[in-house]
């Protein structure tokens, strides 16, 4: 497209290559910093050229993200990033497209685009910063806020039951869903790298702490003293074990999941469910997504990763088919096709 677009072997990229010169303007202590850092660590591990990464965001604290990356970036309008990202990816499928969104951006105003992008399975990666609050507008409840939560707009407590991003995603036909947490940089980086390899829409929910308006929202999962008991790190093909000593696990009891202690009551590791992220049926993935403390650990890691044709691939496929059938190759030919007549 320009003299700048020349293909050339690039030196190995580092985190610094992905850091922009703009001052980061999140509140001190905001979970967003850790996510930014994790992405900057992840990108060098993804075999793409720097100029092919694009970050598209909506509006919110989270959505300021692209300014802090030295890649191509577009801070768009509230809730519409999935649609903009769709246009970007279709226009140039070679690009590695990341959408950055908050829980309000994605699930309040952007809810429709969110489910439609998943349905289309367009090959982009969505990082959903879930702090269960509207940060940028100073503390109203969001569609993921807890029932009963007191916020600026719910002084007597919220009366809406929260959405589960993962459940919505599955119902919308989502092919990839992972969950991670701002307190675990290693897990974040690893998941970001893996999600970029998934063909189709990768949705990554990141439990993120807003120190100002919803501090400790995820404490039940992150509190240092009990986090091992309330985080289940799923790995494909591995049994679902957790706890500091990996002495707890998940088992199916009829249609319900239950937590068992290995060894106790004769429960053996063999009974423990083995994680299958590639299973197309959504039932167990639904169950895993739905778990939360205090009765269950929170499932982290890649919960679902199944194959399905992506929208961008199908567009390309129909393009190729259309070339085979085409009876004209140019606009001049099209104009002159079909019913025309000549005035002499």
């Amino acid at each position: 497209m320009s003299e700048h677009a020349i293909d050339a072997p690039q030196p190995k990229l580092t985190k610094k290559d992905f850091t922009s010169d703009q001052m980061v303007r999140w509140c001190p202590g905001c979970g967003d910093y850790a996510i930014l850092s994790a992405i900057q660590n992840a990108l060098p591990q993804i075999p793409e050229k720097k100029e092919d990464f694009v970050f598209i965001s909506g509006i919110g604290c989270a959505a300021r993200f692209p300014y802090y990356m030295s890649t191509y970036g577009f801070h768009t309008i509230h809730g519409r990033a999935p649609a903009v990202a769709t246009g970007v990816k279709l226009a140039n499928p070679k690009l590695n497209v990341w959408e950055i969104t908050g829980d309000g951006d994605a699930l309040a105003i952007g809810g429709n685009h969110f489910i439609h992008v998943l349905r289309r399975n367009i090959d982009i990666n969505i990082l959903l910063f879930n702090n269960e609050i509207y940060g940028l507008t100073k503390g109203q409840y969001s569609p993921t806020s807890r029932f009963g939560q007191v916020t600026k707009s719910t002084p007597m407590g919220g009366i809406e039951r929260p959405f589960s991003a993962g459940e919505l995603a599955l119902a919308a036909g989502g092919t990839f869903f992972a969950r991670t947490i701002d307190t675990n940089p290693k897990l974040m980086t690893q998941i970001f790298v893996e999600s970029s390899q998934h063909q189709g829409t990768s949705l990554i929910e990141i439990l993120q702490n807003c120190v100002i308006f919803n501090d400790n929202a995820h404490a039940a999962v992150t509190r240092k003293d009990h986090k091992d008991d309330f985080q289940l790190h799923l790995e494909h093909g591995k049994p679902m074990l957790f706890g500091k000593e990996k002495d707890k696990g998940l088992r199916l009891n009829g249609f319900k999941l239950e937590v068992v202690s290995i060894g106790e009551n004769g429960d053996q590791e063999n009974d423990i469910l083995v994680h299958d992220a590639n299973e197309t049926d959504t039932i167990i993935h639904h169950m895993l997504i739905r778990m939360s403390p205090p009765d269950f650990p929170m499932a982290l890691g890649i919960i679902r990763a199944v194959k399905a044709p992506t929208y961008d691939q199908l567009v390309e496929q129909q393009y190729q088919q259309s070339l085979e059938k085409a009876s004209f190759q140019s606009v001049d030919e099209l104009l002159r096709s079909g019913n025309t007549w000549e005035v002499k």
Binding site: A83, V84, E342
Partner: protein
């Protein structure tokens, strides 16, 4: 088939009307196509109901198609029909006002029994109560004659009756001295896979033709000689098709693929249907989940280097305002097509109107200027959308293209251009070094940014909807910078005036009265001016295609007349707009908001009343 000598006419207006299921649109277009092949100039306009197929026999379910053909320049489908063919009482009732007194009306008498007369809302039988005395009525039992003609054909009754439109068409072909050949070819190709239908339809067509000869309903038939038309290859084209094709041409010219993100809505959907056929030309069409996603996907595509386009009608355009503001701020190409329809709200979805001018000029938060262009005939949608694309790309800013239902569905013969003759479109490329690059550097003349897109190494940068610092494009809340950027965005759009043609004037270039209009009123206004000219009244016509910015010489033109009359199918939006841009002049107005185009006579009368004052 002995023939009397046909009577020659300069032009004639024909109106076909029947139930939505009667195939009137097809009948009309066949007649049109055949006439075009004969070298007539012509213009057409279909008139749909808002319901898909309201109950048979009711006024709400009537579908109409009007065509004017002639040997002299035809600019509109005509004010009133010289001949109406009405397939049932409802068609008669809802179309009688569109027939000139003294005109001919062909009725399918088979449908004029009590039940259908009542269904149409008539209290008494119009064939008997004298209400048709002002017209020449031709009674034809079209349905039963069709049945008779098709006796023996292996088809169910319903399918046989469906052929009655071909019977009617056959009658018209004889009356206007047209050959049936093109329609026969058409039938053979359309029903390729069902030979029995080819046979049935052909039989009906021939039967109608012969019946017309036999009854000689009209003393003789008519001949409309070929128009004096520029040499070249022609095709028949509607505004929506021309818009779609103009986009294809622009994309090919600039060497970018076309991305069309849209959500269906009457009367814009046909552009989607059309473009989605040309995947082989690299077009990507996305039927988005709503209008907002549609425009945003187009923004994304433009951001990534394709030509991003979206389209809708008024209700959908209202939804796109916020996103258009983003494209204005990000300064990227984007074409927004508004195929206007009757409003407000859901309004009159299948009718035409020009009432979104205010919306597209002002329907965004804050000062957010946008280029606005309106085509003025179905065929010139091609040319003007091509220009819309050129300006949007070369000036890196959104362009709104204001079509309407009348242009979109109307059609006319179109002399095919050759791609080589179309103007170049040059995407603004950044030619400096990586070090010199800044996202809000500008081309000095056009004030456009450079179209630097993801994938270009070394030029990575960030865009967004927050106010940006001049040159660097970084977020800036600085008051002076904000004023500067507000001014730059305004000046940039104003500067487009240097890159568009001057306003042309038709007729008198100065004097008593200037007519000003825009968009689809062109045909009626031009006709009015030409007809008055013949009557010895000379006035000027400035019909505007470039609405924002306006052509640079428009002010001078306005000043050259004693009076200015602005004609619009809205309550006076262009007139008000001119009042702010050229407050030094007075403006008279002719406005009509009826979901219908102007009649030529309406314009002429208004002009005369002004001139006689």
């Amino acid at each position: 088939m002995s023939k009397t000598m046909p009577v020659e006419l300069d032009k004639v207006v024909i109106r076909f009307a029947g139930d939505s299921g009667d195939g009137m649109q097809l009948t009309g277009s066949q007649f049109t196509y055949t006439s075009a092949m004969l070298g007539n100039d012509l213009a057409t306009f279909p008139d749909f109901p808002a319901e898909i197929r309201a109950p048979q026999g009711t006024v709400e379910g009537v579908s109409g198609f009007q065509v004017q053909i002639g040997k002299i320049d035809i600019y509109t489908p005509g004010d009133l029909a010289d001949i109406l063919i009405a397939m049932n009482p409802a068609a008669l009732r809802s179309n009688i006002n569109w027939v000139r007194k003294g005109g001919n009306i062909i009725l399918d008498t088979d449908y004029f029994q009590d039940r259908n007369i009542k269904k149409a809302g008539y209290k008494t039988n119009p064939m008997e109560d004298g209400s048709l005395d002002d017209y020449k009525i031709i009674e034809a039992p079209i349905t039963s004659l069709t049945k008779t003609a098709l006796k023996g054909i292996e088809l169910d009754n319903k399918s046989i009756i469906r052929c009655k439109n071909m019977f009617a068409l056959g009658m018209m072909y004889w009356l206007f001295d047209r050959s049936k050949d093109e329609t026969i070819k058409f039938l053979e190709s359309k029903f390729r896979k069902k030979p029995v239908l080819v046979e049935a339809n052909k039989k009906a067509l021939n039967a109608g033709y012969n019946y017309a000869i036999t009854i000689r309903a009209i003393a003789s038939n008519y001949k409309i000689p070929a128009a004096k038309i520029e040499k070249g290859i022609y095709r028949h084209i509607s505004g929506n098709q021309a818009s779609a094709w103009g986009l294809l041409a622009a994309a090919e010219k600039v060497g970018r693929k076309l991305f069309y993100g849209s959500y269906p809505i009457t009367p814009a959907s046909d552009i989607l249907h059309e473009l989605t056929k040309y995947k082989n030309l690299g077009v990507i069409t996305l039927q988005a989940e709503d209008e907002i996603a549609a425009v945003c996907s187009a923004i994304g595509a433009s951001y990534a280097g394709q030509l991003g386009v979206t389209a809708s009608a008024g209700p959908g355009i209202a939804l796109k305002g916020e996103a258009i503001g983003l494209a204005i701020m990000a300064e990227i190409p984007l074409i927004i097509i508004d195929v206007q329809r009757g409003g407000p709200s859901t309004g009159l979805p299948t009718k035409t109107e020009q009432a979104d001018l205010n919306l597209v000029l002002y329907g965004r938060n804050s000062d957010s200027p946008c280029i606005v262009i309106a085509p003025s005939t179905p065929a010139n949608c091609f040319e003007y959308i091509f220009q819309a694309a050129r300006l949007s790309i070369e000036h890196m800013t959104p362009v709104i293209f204001l079509s309407d239902g009348y242009l979109a569905n109307g059609s006319e013969p179109w002399k095919l251009p050759s791609m080589a003759d179309l103007p170049e479109i040059n995407a603004p490329q950044f030619k400096g070094s990586e070090q010199e690059f800044q996202p809000y550097l500008r081309d000095p003349k056009k004030m456009s940014r450079y179209w630097v897109v993801p994938g270009m190494a070394g030029l990575e940068h960030r865009l967004g909807g927050l106010e940006k610092e001049d040159i660097t494009g970084n977020i800036s809340y600085d008051p002076e910078n904000h004023q500067k950027m507000i001014d730059i965005r305004a000046d940039k759009v104003k500067a487009v005036a240097n890159f568009i043609p001057e306003q042309q004037v038709i007729g008198a270039t100065s004097g008593e009265l200037l007519l000003v209009g825009w968009g689809s009123t062109y045909g009626s206004m031009l006709s009015a001016v030409k007809e008055l000219e013949k009557e010895g009244v000379k006035i000027g016509l400035a019909h505007i295609n470039y609405l924002n910015p306006l052509p640079k010489n428009l002010g001078t033109i306005l000043g050259a007349y004693n009076k200015v009359l602005v004609c619009e199918l809205n309550s006076g939006q262009l007139a008000n707009y001119l009042r702010h841009l050229f407050p030094e002049y007075r403006y008279l107005q002719l406005n009509k908001v009826q979901g219908l185009p102007f009649k030529i006579t309406e314009i002429k009368e208004k002009i005369k009343s002004i001139l006689n004052n």
